[in-house]
Subunit: 312 residues, 2 copies
């Protein structure tokens, strides 16, 4: 039994759901770190986003039984500082796992980077890579809500089906079946791409650059294809940036959390009315977590990857 001093601001959590997110790769050694969280220490549980139940609380805002979302550790129970909690979950008529996905960091990533960095206009042509992933599936649906033409790429027949049938992308293709990515893009975007929402980096960016329309925008939310390479793939077509006055912009969701309330106000009704759907890839048990996390970098997940540890 823990005895937690009031005002200690420490909170004892029972972890319910853990989230597998690409940014976690940056917290592993030998990589440059974005500001924010310290790198993982070998031998200690890794940290990540998660949903948890409060067992004890030394902070007045949280009490036993609350369900919270925040940065926790990959273990059954975690003692965290209250600053690591993002929010207390009030709305429990959606799956709790949504708070690591559509209602969490990937959701806000899709929202802030598409609307703020992409500046989409009705009728624009949008291309999304890793389009069935945690962020991509939402960007595609946001683009449709805006009245944009949207095409997604993914790496399996199953995912392409999902893009077309579940998320209602106008078109989708399996990039692994395309010998020539440039030709594929010209087929789907004969008039060029207005916004390319990049989740993968590397050779996809290169093929996209020559197919962008003047004043096209490329919000870069991630470059998952590059995270495990010793040598990153190189980009040859940067000159297109000048020729077409393209804007490329990197994005880091933790700098956009001030938009979270506005985002929730936008997304919740859309979820409840079925206008936006969300697909998750759920594995059960902490012991299956590492394989799920590694699978993320190999594109094994179909939809947002989560690990369920326990139920309330």
């Amino acid at each position: 039994m823990w005895l937690m001093a009031e005002g200690s601001n420490e909170i004892l959590l029972k972890n319910l759901i853990l989230s597998c997110d690409p940014f976690m790769r940056f917290l592993m050694p030998k990589e440059e770190n974005p500001e924010g969280f310290p790198p993982y220490a070998p031998g200690s549980p890794i940290t990540g986003c998660g949903v948890a139940e409060v067992l004890e609380s030394g902070h007045p805002e949280y009490k036993k039984g609350d369900i919270v979302c925040g940065m926790t550790r990959w273990e059954e129970y975690s003692l965290v500082h209250s600053a690591q909690i993002f929010c207390k979950i009030q709305n429990t008529d959606v799956p709790l796992s949504y708070y690591t996905g559509i209602l969490g960091m990937p959701g806000l990533s899709a929202y802030a980077s598409f609307y703020e960095l992409g500046s989409p206009k009705k009728g624009e042509r949008v291309f999304v890579s890793a389009a069935s992933g945690a962020v991509g599936q939402l960007v595609g649906q946001f683009a449709k809500l805006m009245g944009c033409y949207v095409v997604g790429s993914a790496e399996s027949k199953e995912k392409v089906k999902l893009l077309k049938n579940k998320f209602k992308f106008y078109e989708a293709f399996n990039y692994k079946e395309e010998q020539d990515l440039d030709a594929a893009l010209k087929r789907y975007f004969p008039e060029g791409i207005g916004i390319y929402f990049d989740n993968v980096g590397g050779k996809t960016v290169d093929a996209v650059l020559v197919n962008m329309r003047p004043h096209g925008r490329i919000p870069i939310c991630g470059m998952i294809s590059q995270y495990n390479l010793d040598q990153p793939e190189s980009i040859k077509n940067m000159i297109a940036v000048v020729l077409k006055r393209i804007q490329i912009q990197g994005f880091y969701v933790f700098e956009h959390y001030h938009l979270y309330p506005k985002f929730v106000e936008f997304i919740l009704p859309n979820i409840k009315e079925g206008k936006i759907v969300y697909v998750e890839d759920i594995v059960q048990g902490l012991e299956n977590g590492p394989a799920a996390l590694i699978g993320l970098f190999k594109g094994k997940n179909v939809g947002k990857q989560v690990v369920v540890l326990a139920h309330e």
Copy 2:
């Protein structure tokens, strides 16, 4: 003797000064064209910016004896459409050649791309490549006026001296003498680069990317090092764009001419008070024009390259 019908909108020019500009490379075959001017036709005089005297005019706004700046051809006399004239030169107490440089397209390029795309703030750290060129020398001086720390790179001892002594850059270096561009940048920017004003593209961009500060901006005004390569140099460090939330943006001066009056209002007093200086590389005679134009792509020019054909 020409007989020019009033309302024909044709104007007969005596060309006084021709301008050598990097964009002219794009008007030569086998390259993608930015919108705007048609590509050069082999066997015909090439077009370019210039200053000329009106000999006859079929447009009411221009009359014999006016000095104008606009798109003309590399020949002694040109018959042009009035739409090709940018402006009638009223202010003749500065060198007329300035209208192809500091008071022309390169000046507006420096102004619009530095202030609009670069969004500079006092105290920021600015790096300029091709820093003694037509645009670079101005960007450096604008940065100083803003209270920024500015370092320039160039490719000869003579140009480095010019940067330090004439344009008063804080520091300048000869990139050809640097074995390791990354190390050079770390030496001049131990705290990273806030704004990189790119005139050259290629490996310089690559070295800069890893030395950018978070939220750094890279306005790309040109990539002159790449224009004559069969294979463009590739960029390996694009992942820095995500890690540091960098903004890269291409620029095309002809889309910013609405800023020209505001720009002239800003630049003229600065020229007259000696707060901004401008260095030109002047060759005499049309016959020396082609070598001067080619020299531009080899970095032979010291300052803005112009060709003087005749005096008023």
